[in-house]
Amino acid sequence: MTEGKYAIFVWPAYAISALAFAWMLLDSLLSARRWKRKVAALERDRERGDQEGSP
């Protein structure tokens, strides 16, 4: 597991891959959550507006 003289190449390759996966996962999930919440807020506003506008 120490990778000997090649450790300086092997471990950075795995570290960069782990970072890239972490970025892809976080960016995707946070973006989905942000827009889902935005849609929910806008739909709430619309319903409120409809109720205020109705006689």
Binding site: M1, V10, P12, S17, A20, R46
Partner: protein, 239 residues
């Protein structure tokens, strides 16, 4: 199945459970691939750098697949004016760019000890760099045009033109003299890699593809919500 999923409501219902299932499958496969990879013996020529292959090759395969998905989604968006296909194309580009960059960087980290250089203007390496630039160009073009419909059409044309690069990436090692080794997995007569290396490579490749699938579904969902939010904001402003 594609016709059924072309409906955004059906797609959202499907992706809600499909994305986590693909994500769990990806985690299991990558976990197993890492275990087998770090318990595999060192290669008699490459030494411990063979372990870079277990992340480099899957990243390269996934990058090519991501571009094929971008091309397919762009085709449906351009020809059939399908909004969900356009959302899928927009969602896949950053993932494709990330996997291509991973293939380039991990390949470079393998090339330095094995070839004695970080980079050569070799046909395979150059065509993969072009693949990365196509993904980045697609993202930049979509961002550069304010009108989303026009941006989507222009970017779709770029993506379709860029499809010509896929066979170049695949066959570059056969068509030109290349420092990069020839095809050793998907070739007539079967793989030339020892089973002890093929197992972690296959597990990692499966894991990367499942991870890509899960992330793509999540990003399409985000894109559908983004468009819905923009539509609601316009409706609210008009009232």
């Amino acid at each position: 199945m594609f016709a059924a999923l072309a409906n955004p409501h059906r797609f959202m219902a499907f992706s809600r459970w499909a994305a986590p299932i693909l994500g769990v499958a990806a985690a299991l496969l990558i976990g197993a691939g890492l275990w087998f990879g770090f318990h595999a013996p060192e290669d008699y020529q490459q030494g411990a750098t063979v372990r870079i292959m277990f992340i480099h090759v899957p990243a390269a395969i996934t990058a090519e697949w991501a571009y094929a998905c971008l091309g397919g989604a762009s085709f449906f968006a351009l020809v059939f004016r399908h909004a969900l296909a356009d959302a899928a194309a927009r969602a896949v580009a950053p993932l494709g760019a990330a996997f291509t960059l991973l293939a380039l960087v991990t390949g470079s980290l393998w090339g330095r000890p094995m070839w004695g250089t970080w980079w050569v203007w070799d046909a395979r390496l150059t065509s993969v760099l072009v693949l990365f630039l196509l993904f980045v160009g697609y993202i930049a073009l979509r961002s550069a045009i304010d009108d989303e419909a026009r941006a989507g059409r222009a970017a779709a044309i770029l993506a379709l033109v860029g499809l010509i690069n896929l066979p170049i990436v695949k066959f570059s090692v056969d068509w030109w003299n290349s420092l990069h080794q020839g095809e050793s997995i998907f070739r007539p007569g079967g793989p030339t890699i020892a089973t002890v290396f093929l197992i972690p490579l296959g597990l990692m490749a499966g894991g990367y593809m499942f991870a890509f699938g899960a992330l793509w579904l999540v990003r399409i969902r985000a894109e559908v919500w983004r468009r819905r939010a923009l539509s609601l904001a316009v409706q609210a402003a008009a009232r």
